[in-house]
């Protein structure tokens, strides 16, 4: 089989004859793997109008649909340009195949949609983002409505999925959140140590680590980790359910997908994220404490003593107080992007990316707004 997978072609042009004649002798295996070299040869074939073209197929050993198509295409093109084409010597079964290809050729039209122009492309993009934004607003409104309805009828809240989400988004995130905060505390103390030592202000390492971790870094760090871990998971889960029509199935059973899928996620994150943040505070301060002892000779007892003075309750609360807002952002964006998935696996991937990017972006924007507001309020 492999030996004879070469298609051959000999073209004899007799321009002296009247009318001028061209003979094409085909041989070998005219198969999808063999015809590649023939393609150029055949498309370069030119017969003057009125000439006679004889295609001799008697030596074709194997013909498949791709080969038959090439043959048909050649015959068709030459007829168009006015040559008198005859195909001879084809085996009966190959002839059937050629006819089959010819009957379907009418419908063969490699259709390619025209790519949009630059202006149309920009318009499309703007339209898409407006559409996305209005969809997001509608989604927030819908979720708020369901949330208030659940407040009035707390029995409608589905606690099982809430607990399940608490477990997966909260408890299972403990190791990674703890490790990263600890390292963050270490890094801050390490960077600060050098500067503080220069002024002999070793003890202020406590203020540095405590304030930075509690007010800004742990809430932000935790929110970003959770957006990457759980926000993406929400999008992927809901997106896949959307594609496999599970969301539609829920609707037909009379269970609101928002009630079952979105609300528990929001509730779970609103509970889990503040707790995770407090845990991250502890881990971060612990990291700073260890660094303070090894680099600045600030012992654990001294560190904790000073921590009580440097940090008051409001510091902790301003940090933790932001996190429910972050939680709502992450859950809403994650779920909304999931619902926007449509059609293909590709789309789930795209929406998941969008979800993580948007969630992190919005969390940081919200954090900046909080800073401004806290500054005004002098907290």
């Amino acid at each position: 089989m492999t030996v004879e997978q070469i298609a051959q072609l000999v073209i004899d042009t007799d321009s002296a004859a009247v009318p001028p004649s061209v003979a094409v002798r085909c041989a070998g295996a005219w198969t999808v793997r063999g015809i590649a070299p023939l393609e150029r040869q055949l498309s370069a074939l030119s017969c003057p109008a009125g000439s006679a073209l004889v295609i001799d197929g008697s030596a074709i050993a194997v013909l498949d649909t791709a080969g038959a198509w090439l043959l048909h295409r050649t015959v068709h093109a030459q007829k168009e340009s006015g040559a008198d084409v005859r195909v001879t010597g084809l085996r009966p079964e190959f002839d059937t195949l050629l006819q089959l290809v010819a009957t379907h050729a009418g419908t063969v039209r490699p259709a390619l949609p025209a790519p949009p122009g630059l202006l149309a492309g920009i318009g499309q993009q703007v339209w898409n983002s407006l559409h996305g934004a209005s969809g997001m607003l509608a989604f927030i409104g819908e979720s708020a409505l369901i949330f208030f309805r659940s407040l009035i009828q707390p029995r409608r809240i589905r606690w099982r999925p809430v607990l399940h989400n608490l477990q997966s988004a909260g408890f299972e995130a403990l190791p990674i959140v703890g490790l990263l905060s600890f390292l963050m505390g270490v890094v801050i103390a390490y960077q600060g140590a050098d500067q503080l030592q220069r002024f002999g202000a070793n003890i202020f390492i406590v203020d540095l680590v405590g304030l930075a971790m509690l007010r800004e870094l742990s809430p932000l760090l935790t929110a970003i980790i959770v957006a990457g871990r759980s926000g993406s998971a929400y999008t992927a889960q809901i997106g896949t359910m959307k594609i496999s029509e599970e969301i539609d199935a829920l609707r037909t059973i009379g269970v609101g997908p928002q009630e079952l899928l979105v609300l528990p996620k929001i509730l779970a994150l609103v509970i889990a994220l503040p707790l995770l943040t407090v845990y991250a505070d502890v881990a971060g301060v612990l990291g700073g404490m260890i660094m303070a002892r090894s680099q600045l000779d600030v012992g654990f007892v001294l560190f904790l003593d000073r921590l009580g003075e440097a940090i008051d309750l409001s510091t902790l609360l301003t940090g933790v107080g932001k996190t429910p807002v972050f939680a709502v952002i992450i859950a809403l964006v994650g779920c909304y992007q999931g619902f926007r998935a449509s059609g293909s696996a590709d789309s789930v991937g795209r929406q998941t990316t969008t979800s993580v990017v948007q969630a992190i972006f919005l969390v940081i924007v919200a954090d900046a707004l909080f800073s401004v507001v806290f500054n005004w309020l002098d907290i």
């Binding site: 649909t65 050729a105 490699p110």
Partner: protein
């Protein structure tokens, strides 16, 4: 042990497959000859699709031998499997079209991957394959998610025959189709065999399809083969399950339909 059939395209001997403790195939032996339409039937979960997956090397059985085109496929390395894989086409039950590509790109991808045709010719051949399966010309530019179930099956078939394979595997080619589309598939399967000289192995529940296309049928139950033969031969087989299969209300209707057609 009987001598291997020279005509055999697929030759399975004493196949055993287990998933954990669940036995899927026990002593399964069968032969598919060149140019025939061979069908596997049996109840849900009897291991039909598993057998198909074993033949196309998606699954490794515990013991036995599967020879395709005379080559043992169990334990074959990927390098050695490639020439074999080029010689067959597979149509999956739910199409398994690549959702990020259009139908024409789905078909063209196979051609681009394995041949050196020019992009223009690839597009033309892909469009021809799509036309051969009876899809309208504009279907090529659509994404699989924009197609109906029947059209998706046809598109999957177009991809399976992209390389003009000698052997075609069809997993439930008519499942989930309306009768009209299903009978279109019947005709398509027969045409492919008659015109392109394919050997076709399919897994199906569709009795109409069986009566109208299958040359030989193997009935699988609980990992055993109950019988192999033409539909007429099988319908004479004295086994309660086979009897139920062929003489149940749906079986009878399909059979009468088939006789009328003849």
């Amino acid at each position: 042990m009987p001598a291997p059939d020279r005509d055999a395209v697929i030759d399975i001997r004493d196949l055993h497959t287990r998933f954990g403790k669940a036995v899927v195939h026990e002593n399964v032996s069968l032969t598919v000859r060149a140019g025939e339409i061979f069908s596997l039937v049996g109840g849900s979960g009897c291991g039909k699709s598993t057998l198909l997956r074993a033949i196309i090397m998606l699954l490794r059985p515990q013991s036995g031998s599967i020879r395709v085109f005379g080559q043992e496929v169990i334990g074959l390395s990927d390098d050695k499997a490639l020439p074999l894989r080029r010689r067959w086409g597979v149509m999956f039950e739910r199409g398994a079209l690549f959702s990020s590509l259009t139908v024409a790109e789905n078909v063209g991808m196979v051609l681009r991957e394995h041949t050196r045709l020019s992009p223009k010719l690839v597009d033309e051949v892909a469009a021809l394959k799509i036309a051969l399966t009876g899809l309208p010309a504009d279907a090529g530019a659509k994404y699989p998610s924009e197609l109906s179930g029947g059209m998706r099956k046809r598109a999957a078939l177009a991809r399976a025959i992209a390389l003009d394979p000698e052997l075609l595997f069809l997993d439930e080619p008519t499942a989930g189709l309306d009768p009209l589309s299903a009978s279109g598939i019947d005709e398509l399967v027969r045409n492919l065999r008659d015109v392109l000289g394919l050997t076709i192995m399919m897994v199906t529940h569709d009795l109409d399809l069986l009566w109208r296309t299958a040359d030989r049928v193997a009935v699988l139950d609980n990992g055993h083969i109950l019988g192999i033969g033409s539909m007429t031969e099988l319908s004479r087989l004295d086994h309660p399950l086979v009897h139920e299969y062929f003489y149940g209300p749906r079986g009878r209707a399909a059979r009468e339909q088939a006789w009328k057609k003849k």
